[in-house]
């Protein structure tokens, strides 16, 4: 039986698709999450599982419907629940009658032999050099996409032709979808930069810009289909938005051992002494980091009932008063009605805008 491979729908999915395709797998592209995905996930998940679990559940069911029989995902070593997702997903899918295998990458420290075995499964009888070559195309694609996305979200609020930046972003995404070699990569990158430069912007003074940082649990921070597309939402309200987590940074930290995240975590050490799983310490560190970089406010996203983020939510009042930075915590669950959160975000932005104006007036316009 040939392997039909699928994966979680999270962030720039074309990157996983590209990697697996180039390694010679038959890839079942999971459909973009819709209301139906959420409904399916909620129906078959434990009631109090967190929203990423439910989304992935729906996601996997849809992929299985399309014929996927192998799912590749990452595991974890706790104590956040995410590390145990795969085990429970697999049991539920089996109970539903789908014969599906999971390849879950755990930390090699936990199970070295298993990791090596899984590595060979992913290698799919190709040579190591081929794998390196593929990675050398796929990883820069991921990194470029993240860079462009970050850039776009600092441009949307100031664009002259409304909607142009997002249009450009979609174009860039399409171009990168076709990249399969080093040469194409370089061409795509040049084209991307050219297109970005072509966007016309209003001139805005730095002290009039409002910058909002988005921190929290990785899934709800990265995946727009579950977080109400919060970045673009903020942009449409006239703010620049930057996330604390980009997938390329996560890969750099967890696979290449890059040190940036460590320094962020050190900033959080004062509030949460040890790593307590998930992204709690990073969340806290990032709030401080954003403040240091001159951001005006933070939106903290967490799945309803998220274990580590509840701890960070509990320490946030202290950070707010220590560092004088407004934080709005939004807890996300399967309720997809937007207006409630929209109102809160709008009010939050209004407050920040007022605060800024006031500060400017009181400092005699010198600031």
């Amino acid at each position: 039986m040939s392997n039909k491979v699928s994966f979680p729908y999270l962030g720039h999915v074309i990157v996983y698709k590209k990697f697996l395709q180039m390694m010679g797998f038959e890839v079942i592209m999971p459909p973009a999450p819709t209301q139906k995905t959420i409904d399916l996930g909620v129906k078959y998940s434990p009631e109090f599982a967190c929203i990423p679990f439910k989304m992935l559940m729906g996601n996997y069911i849809e992929a299985c419907e399309l014929g996927a029989n192998t799912i590749i995902s990452s595991g974890g070593h706790g104590p956040c629940r995410a590390g145990f997702y795969g085990e429970v997903h697999q049991r539920i899918l089996r109970q539903m009658g789908y014969d599906v295998n999971f390849i879950i990458f755990d930390s090699p420290k936990r199970d070295l032999f298993g990791t090596i075995k899984k590595f060979f499964k992913i290698k799919n009888k190709q040579s190591i050099s081929k794998m390196v070559k593929v990675s050398k195309v796929v990883f820069p694609v991921l990194k470029d996409l993240d860079t462009f996305e970050k850039k776009i979200h600092t441009m949307i609020p100031y664009e002259i032709n409304k909607g142009q930046s997002l249009e450009v972003w979609r174009e860039i995404y399409k171009i990168y979808d076709e990249v399969y070699s080093q040469k194409e990569l370089l061409e795509a990158r040049a084209e991307g930069h050219r297109m970005i430069d072509s966007i016309k912007l209003r001139k805005v003074n730095d002290d009039e810009k409002i910058k909002i940082g988005i921190v929290g649990e990785i899934f709800v921070v990265i995946e727009p289909s579950i977080n109400m597309d919060v970045e673009n939402l903020l942009c449409s309200l006239g703010c620049e938005a930057e996330r604390s987590l980009y997938l390329s940074e996560w890969v750099e930290h967890n696979i290449f051992g890059e040190k940036h995240e460590k320094t962020i975590q050190d900033l959080g050490e004062k509030y949460i002494e040890i790593l307590i799983g998930g992204h709690a310490k990073t969340t806290v560190g990032n709030i401080v980091d954003f403040k240091n970089r001159g951001f005006d406010g933070i939106i903290h996203l967490m799945p309803f009932g998220c274990l580590p983020e509840l701890v960070s939510q509990s320490v946030i009042p202290k950070i707010t008063s220590d560092h004088d930075i407004p934080v709005l915590t939004l807890s996300i669950d399967e309720q997809t009605g937007k207006s409630n959160n929209l109102t809160r975000i709008e009010a939050f932005i209004d407050l920040i805008r007022n605060k800024k104006t006031k500060e400017k007036v009181f400092s005699g316009g010198k600031k």
Partner: protein, 327 residues
Amino acid sequence: MKIGIPRALLYHYYGVFWEEFFKELGHEVIVSPHSNKEIVDTGIKSAVPEICVPIKIFLGHLKYLIYEKNVDYAFVPRMISIHKGEIFCPKFMGLPDLVKNGSPEISDRILTTYIESKTENISNYKNYISLSDKLNANEEDIKRASRKANIKWLEFRRNTLRGIPADKAAEMVKKNTVYKKNNSNNIKIAVVGYVYNVYDPFLSMDILDKLHDLNVDYMTFEMLDNKTIFSQISHLKKRLFWTFSNKLLGAGYYSLKNHNIDGLIHLTAFGCGPDSFLGKLFEIESDIRQKPFMTIRIDEHTGENHLQTRIEAFVDMLKRKKEKESA
């Protein structure tokens, strides 16, 4: 010095140890009373709304000790691990952070230390050595106190293994009372839940007593020895990360397989993360084993009648099933 220990979370498991430990060092130990409406309300006000009830209750007890009993220090341990390769739920690992930053006004009255051990015996003096300054004790004192406390705690564990529920077992050690356990041919139910839920009368609404009144025998996870528990889950490729959850899982699997146990009640707190998975695993297994299984989800509400009704219905069903089978 007056040292307060909140009667919440792992007090119900390690309380015997901690009480004896601080007493041995010459301090007055004050344990908060059983949870009541006031304590719970204080807790709810002190916590973020989404967090699970046991943590809210813990905060309530903590504030009670500090404001009502005027203790010099309240003990808030940072539980990291009590089993090799496993850790605690993030809320336990971050508990002191949560307390200190959530209620900064009491942060200097918190006594905290890292507790990290390869087995569930947490008597290694190194876990407590960081307290020596605040407690005015030297290394020798700490060693002696933890040794003495350990003797008591081991006695407590021996009692629970004899089938005595943890609250009674702790009382036996502290007050030298005797607890008579009656053996009968009643139906037997396994009540699987964390100690801080089962033995908090406010939260569990005395579920064990209620079962007792219905002439039902019960079993809880601490009545099984670790070997039995972990042999039940040794076939799992990946165990849960949380030690007590693993114990519940093992105890649950054991009772689903064991013919002397007629049914399983999973007692869980609203919003408990680990339990959301645990419950699903029980659900799947009880389907396979064809054993009656019921989830009771508890929170800060106080209506008791629904619980009574559900338990009675469950027990009646088990009784009928048993009669039918023996007929």
